[in-house]
Symmetry: C2
Subunit: 570 residues, 2 copies
């Protein structure tokens, strides 16, 4: 029984490497390979070696416990899925190259599941007939496939990866909101138990309602997502979801004055020519919204985020205007558009273009601009939209302090899907008034293998990996720093710890110097390291705390007592 | 904490069906679908609903514990595998249509792993450099893919399925034999713990050595394998591995006598014409072995198993002769071949054609047979081979009793691979004399999802599934057979059982009759059923043992005490 939890490094499939792998871009990629946790099989496809598999299992176990605790039921759906349901939803083609597609021996089309909304909808359609059968929440921890264009960063962004995906089914919007809340709280508990520093950010701006979709982000330099973070309050948001207040100002402004501005093709040259800051100029971007020419006004020092604009106006299609669009429109003078002359063109603007503010802008004449063009006096804004690219120092919408832009790894996503898939598959149940009720759904994901990488990113230091106890591949790393007496003492310590219920990694490798073993122990990152070295004859060992970097010499019995003490007292 | 282990059937995704699914051929297929354990996703691809997932997890846990106990290390390899290693081994083409093949967005070839010998060989080649790193045993419990021509029998033979595959790596044949022994013993413990009746049979006959490959078979009517079983002793074997003793007889026989036998195209007509049993005639099948015409002699009442013949003679290629092969061979009179005239043709024979036995056989003349053709007097056998199809009643090679032929499900296979893959990939380690040593391997598999089906086949009765406690989806099934008082008592019982550590399934479904609920409980097959019914007001419940079919009324407290008693005392 006791020896079952001692893993000897002399046999462990975890060859440590001194050098970083050539293709590793991120800390977690470098360290997980060097410490022998994972090995690359093909681009974006990884083998989990024993240490990695244990961390993956620890993460999965915590996810599973918290999903069970909110009453979600675990199932296992196939990864090999038939084409038809994904044709019904439209995703067979929408996914494009991201989908792995294949045919079976009879020529039938299949895909490798990237996410399973369609199939879960069909499962519930088969299983549930009455409102009494709902709500239900189902989940699985399963291998997913996405043929990423640039698989990279090790297991952070793979083409085959482990994911927990869950789905809720409710008969009412209030029910969906409750299922969403349960998931949100479970996710917070999961990431807290994992020891993952995280922020919850609204994933999209207004259109879908503030709480309809939130992302869980783990701040990390290696992250592919950028998010906005307030250093003074707890505000955090996806950069596309940041909103700014509209604050009208009241001030007296002189009348409009036209000025000659030849050779000022850019905002910078215009501002220099007139001796004003770029932020005093008003830039008017022309786009077509479902074919109709529309102007978008933003301060001259800001960029329009076309993605944000498209999301605000969806499902309308937004395109940039072309030279042809100016034909037959003498009111639109290219490069010199100003809102004060645009009668027939809808005018959208950033909240910074508030009523009462005055601007330098185009005079709707070649080589000419206008000063003192005042919003509300000289032009009207038809609709205010948050469309500028957020920049560091922009005021926090919550407290006004200057915002930070930080990098993060998306580790979770919760989403109120609504009736999209229920509509596609006709998922109704009999309501309590005897009539069919369309079901409303939520979908919720945690990247399990990605969470391992995110944890490595957040906790590693310059000596190697440094796992929180909850996910570490072992509880104690016992190092035999020497042959004979030290080895015997290390064996004794390992056996005693295993007997007390600890998972022990025992470095019993022959022929390696204590220095190499201790370097490896730091690289592997088990939270507590017990070293049997020179003073083994006196039964004195060294106890190291990997994260704190502290080390202390003490008698073996005392070290064992310390390690056996309940967590928090150690 | 306690309610965490109560699964309410009012919410459980396990819709029971009264009717068998139309396509179900086998008991396990019918019952696992009807009881709501699994649902078909596409041909041979299954969704595991919550009850099924729990059984699958219970089987996996037992497999994992026993693999860990022999020191095997758990890893997780990808299912999406690059083509190249399978080209090196030759299996990219050898697998034929059984392999799911696909391309990624760049056009690179991949396959979905049917089994992972190639990739494990590469992992060990990357990780191990010295004989000191060996032996190692690695395993994974993983989703496998095989594009079966006829996926059927539910999860018994799927195209996507769960398998435990493990691999051993040793520097010597003795080491391999030890790794094989460890696996064999672990498999016996696994199947015993699962409660699976099983036989270990030699998988192939002599050529590879008796212990080089063994199959674990679970006897079941739905099995696709036929095996030979002795009712008197513990002998069991794959039908292709049965061997019979060669027993020379000494007897006086008259001289050869030719007889006219016109119009006797078959053994039956010949035997009838001469008034002898078919077993007294000698049938001589002509084949080509690597192109050379060869005769195979077997008693006239037996069939030659061409598969067995091919295995005995491998790697030589065995083909049937064609009409063209008789051209220019006046010594070979088609339909009238006898071994007494075959000078230039090698003669292979079944051990029943023993020295001293006399036969009716062809006279090497048209329309003529010969009597009293004696083995050892009139012809010689060049080589004895076991090539006849085994039939019920054949003598047991061990005790001589009449053998039975039984159907079984192959649930495990252990195999001494030797150096095939190590040769293909150049897997050497530095030996203890400083020279490279080629590694020798074993591979070992357990069909985890198939074991679930095999268990269902072996344990189900005419009322439904009937799980052994070790794998059941719950420990106790509590049925509220009525509203109000019975429901309240059932809730109380479920909470008390959960608090005592039991996994409880609680049938709290409203609007169903006690009869429907009890029928469902028997269909679902949890070992112990506690029914709160008419006598709930007196706190009297009924306790049923699902397997024994016994039922007993007793006070709730006594029922709880009985259920809480350690196993064996219940």
């Amino acid at each position: 029984m006791s020896t079952q939890h001692v893993q000897r490094m002399s046999r462990l499939m975890a060859k440590t490497l001194r050098e970083d792998p050539a293709d590793a871009e991120t800390l977690s990629h470098r360290l997980l390979v060097r410490a022998g946790y994972v090995r690359r099989s093909s681009a974006g496809v990884w083998t989990w070696l024993p240490l990695g598999k244990r961390v993956l299992d620890n993460v999965s176990r915590i996810v599973r416990e918290e999903m069970d605790a909110i009453g979600a039921q675990e199932v296992l759906l196939p990864a090999l899925l038939p084409k038809e349901p994904y044709e019904v939803s439209g995703r067979w083609s929408e996914y494009g190259d991201l989908l792995f597609r294949l045919k079976d021996r009879k020529g039938a089309d299949y895909l490798l599941g990237p996410t399973h909304e369609e199939i879960f909808t069909l499962v519930v359609k088969d299983q549930c007939t009455s409102y009494k059968d709902l709500p239900v929440m189902l989940y699985q921890i399963q291998t997913k496939y996405r043929d990423e264009a640039r698989p990279r960063s090790g297991v952070l962004r793979g083409r085959e990866f482990q994911m927990k995906d869950s789905y809720s089914f409710d008969v009412s919007d209030e029910g969906l909101a409750e299922s969403y809340r349960l998931h949100r709280e479970a996710y917070v508990r999961i990431f807290e138990r994992l020891g993952l520093d995280h922020r919850i950010v609204s994933a999209v701006s207004g259109a879908m309602g503030g709480s309809a979709s939130e992302e869980f982000l783990a701040p990390a330099a290696a992250g592919e997502d950028t998010f906005v973070d307030c250093p003074s309050c707890d505000y955090a948001a996806n950069t596309e979801a940041v909103t700014f207040a509209l604050t009208p100002v009241s001030a007296e402004h002189p009348a409009i004055e036209e000025v000659d501005t030849p050779d000022t093709p850019t905002i910078e040259t215009l501002a220099a020519h007139l001796g004003v800051p770029a932020s005093a100029t008003l830039k008017n971007l022309l786009v077509k919204v479902d074919g109709e020419i529309t102007a978008v006004g933003v301060p001259g020092d800001r960029e329009v985020d076309l993605g944000k604009l498209g999301e605000h106006l969806a499902p309308a299609v937004v395109e940039l205007v072309t030279a042809e669009d100016f034909a037959g429109r003498p009111d639109l003078v290219r490069g010199y558009v100003g809102p004060q002359g645009l009668d027939k063109v809808p005018y959208l603007a950033d909240p910074r273009v508030a009523p009462g503010t005055a601007w330098v802008t185009g005079a709707n004449k070649a080589d000419t601009h206008a000063r003192n063009v005042v919003c509300g006096r000289d032009f009207e804004v038809d609709r205010y939209l948050d469309v500028v690219v957020v920049e560091p120092g922009d005021p926090c919408p919550s407290c006004g302090a200057g915002l930070r832009l930080d990098r993060a790894i998306e580790i979770g996503h919760i989403f109120q899907l609504g009736r999209k898939y229920a509509d596609a598959f006709g998922l109704d149940v009999l309501g309590n008034e005897g009539k069919p009720v369309r079901v409303t759904m939520g979908s919720y994901g945690i990247g399990v293998s990605r969470a391992v990488a995110a944890l490595a990113e957040q906790t590693a230091d310059d000596r190697g990996l440094c796992w929180p106890a909850a996910v570490a591949p072992a509880d104690v790393h016992v190092v035999a720093a020497g042959k004979a007496v030290p080895l015997a003492l290390a064996e004794e310590a390992a056996a005693a710890l295993a007997a007390a219920g600890h998972r022990v990694l025992l470095d019993d490798r022959p022929g390696l110097s204590p220095g190499v073993k201790l370097t490896d122990a730091e690289l592997i990152g088990v939270p507590r390291i017990l070293v049997a070295g020179r003073r083994s004859g006196d039964r004195v060992v060294e106890l190291q705390d990997r994260a704190a970097g502290t080390r202390e010499e003490l008698p073996l019995d005392e070290a064992l007592a310390r390690l056996n003490a309940p967590a928090g007292q150690a």
